[in-house]
């Protein structure tokens, strides 16, 4: 069967379902369908990991990588996030050349990092710098889960610490888009210490009276949740994203039962009082700008960073 035929077949089925039985497009139904072995070409379609609905990749990307069916806010690369957040051409990067060493001589760690640097167009799992957002100057940090699940080792810890120190000195707000599998085990105890180091920098920054906004994105877990991600003056989460301390599997193994789907979702954290608000991607820039304005930061001309 040719690709066009396949496309038509899939599209026809979608159109039919949309008319006759939208209720059938439940997670269970889709799961059953996918288990029957209907193979979906990955470069043309996006299959939502939450509701398992499939949609055209083009539509999904136009929709800022948000699932049209369930509103799950999918993972972005750092560049996509930056483009959606910062004013055009306003970004200037900090510490662009920083790279990790191998404190416990973990086998093949250097090779792995080298491959990821190429594939992800970054030296380690976080990009930091300054930019304007709707004309408001801010220090920004973006973690990218494509890079070793954005785990925190020496580089992530150091870059985030320096970002806070820079913002303290220059009286600027800090906005961090967090995503992480936790501490980077390959760096041993050094990675654990980054939790204390970043939290210490935030303590000083906070004492200096500046604003720290955390945006929790998919997935924010482990040592990052247990350090800088939970310390924002304002904590925002994207809809449906996974946020937690312990891994789901670890908990399931401990309690020997399956956890409900909404466990450790943004909505679960909101209900339990650990995030201030859930904000959709399309409104994020406007919310960030409004929050900065209400903390008495001044708007400068868009696209300019005065040094």
């Amino acid at each position: 069967m040719g690709l066009e035929d396949l496309l038509k077949k899939v599209k026809d089925r979608f159109d039919d379902e949309a008319e006759v039985a939208p209720a059938l497009r439940s997670a269970a139904y889709n799961k059953a369908e996918s288990e029957k072995g209907v193979k979906i070409p990955e470069d043309l379609f996006f299959k939502c990991p939450r509701c398992l609905t499939t949609s055209y990749k083009e539509d999904f990307e136009k929709n800022r990588k948000v699932c049209a069916n369930c509103n799950y806010h999918a993972r972005l690369t750092w560049r996509e996030r930056l483009n959606l957040t910062a004013d055009r051409n306003s970004f200037s990067e900090f510490d662009a050349n920083m790279e990790s060493q191998n404190p416990i001589d973990y086998p093949e760690y250097a090779d792995k990092l080298q491959k990821l640097r190429k594939a992800c167009d970054m030296r380690d799992a976080v990009i930091t710098g300054e930019c304007t957002i709707r004309g408001y100057k801010a220090v920004i940090g973006i973690m990218d889960s494509n890079f070793m699940m954005a785990s925190m080792g020496s580089v992530v810890g150091e870059k985030i610490t320096r970002a806070f120190e820079y913002a303290t000195k220059n009286k600027m707000p800090v906005i961090l888009f967090t995503a992480s599998g936790g501490a980077r085990m390959q760096e041993g105890i050094i990675s654990l210490m980054q939790m204390a180091k970043t939290s210490g920098a935030i303590a000083k920054f906070s004492d200096a009276g500046q604003l720290y906004i955390t945006v929790l994105t998919d997935p924010t877990t482990g040592g990052v949740t247990a350090s800088f991600a939970s310390l924002g003056d304002v904590i925002i989460a994207e809809p449906k994203v996974l946020i937690g301390f312990a891994g789901r599997r670890v908990i399931q193994d401990t309690i020997k039962q399956k956890l409900p789907d909404e466990f450790q979702s943004a909505e679960f954290l909101l209900e339990n009082g650990f995030v201030d608000l859930i904000c959709e991607r399309r409104r994020m820039r406007s919310y960030l700008a409004r929050i900065m304005r209400m903390h008495n930061y001044e708007k400068i001309e868009e696209g300019r960073v005065n040094k």
Binding site: N97, M98, E99, S100, Q101, N102, P103, I104, D105, Y106, S154, V155, G157, E158, T161, A183, M185, Q186, E187, G188, I189, I190, S191, L192, M193, Q194, M195, A196, K197, S199, G200, A201, I202, A203, K204, S206, D207, G222, G223, T225, A226, S227, F228, A229, S230, L231, G244, F245, A246, G247, V250, I251, T254, I255, L259, F263, Q264, N272, G273, F274
Partner: protein
């Protein structure tokens, strides 16, 4: 001091009669008074808190409690704290700051508890808050790892001016078993992980994470609890004297730098 492998130490700190905080506290301190509760949710027996005197000086003690038998372990959850345990620790640390007494943290935990309730009550937030608040606590903080220093659950009581470790204690980003299970998908390679991870007191001294190794009697702390307690006392006496002479501003600056300088990178 003969060189004992990380694997052998892993076995040593799991010896059934390895002394716990409940053995040490009466041997090191006088007149301990336990204080309960985080004032928000409840009391967590995994972290013991209270005040006592040390050479007639009042101190605050925060300690993770490994049980000496099944009953005690049930009560203390095998020293795996819930968020309210960390929040109780922070409350008592703030109390110590107010009344200007040193805080002594005795660390001995496999890690913070992983469970539904712990997540609902914000395990991540509780640990994060402690890391931040302890960094600026205006009174000396000394942490001693007695056995297991497991991950963020240990670090939440180890943001301090000086970290000491008992000779055979281990302190790691994740348990060797967890390390093997996650990175190699094979928990049975625990011993190999323990050797690779650099988690002994000597390793941590080399990394600048730990400032002092407190020696244990031959064969491990359980062979002579009194002697181990005396060694801890001797260290504490020096450390408290040293830190209490330091003014608060210098103390906090040094504490920040202690962690600020840890990281291995090039640029």
């Amino acid at each position: 001091m003969s060189r004992i492998s990380a694997t052998e130490r892993l076995a040593l700190i799991r010896v059934k009669n390895r002394p716990t905080v409940n053995d040490y506290i009466p041997l090191i301190f006088d007149g301990f008074i336990e204080m309960h509760g985080d004032r928000h949710y409840g009391d967590d027996a995994a972290i013991l808190g209270g005040i006592a005197t040390f050479y007639s000086m009042p101190v605050t003690i925060l300690a993770q409690v490994k049980g000496r038998d099944v009953e005690e372990n049930k009560r203390t959850n095998f020293a795996m704290p819930h968020p309210e345990g960390y929040r109780k620790a922070l409350r008592l640390a703030k109390q110590a700051e107010k009344f200007n007494r040193p805080v002594i943290c005795l660390v001995d935990t496999p890690g913070a508890f992983c469970g539904i309730e712990a997540e609902e009550r914000g395990q991540g937030e509780a640990i994060a808050r402690n890391l931040m608040e302890f960094m600026t606590l205006k009174t000396p903080v000394i942490s001693i790892v007695l056995g297991e220093g497991g991950s963020g659950g240990a670090l939440a009581l180890a943001v301090c001016d000086e970290l000491a470790m008992l000779e055979n204690a281990l302190y790691s980003v994740i348990s060797p078993r967890g390390f093997a299970s996650i990175l190699w998908k094979d928990p049975s390679r625990e011993k190999e992980a323990a050797e690779l991870m650099k988690i002994t007191s000597e390793d941590l001294l080399n990394f600048g994470v730990c400032e002092k190794i407190i020696s244990e009697p031959a064969g491990g702390a359980h062979n002579d609890c009194q002697l181990t307690a005396d060694n801890i006392s001797e260290y504490l006496f020096d450390a408290i004297k040293r830190l209490c002479r330091t003014d608060a501003e210098t103390l906090l600056k040094n504490r920040y730098q202690k962690f600020r300088k840890i990281g291995m990178f090039t640029e």
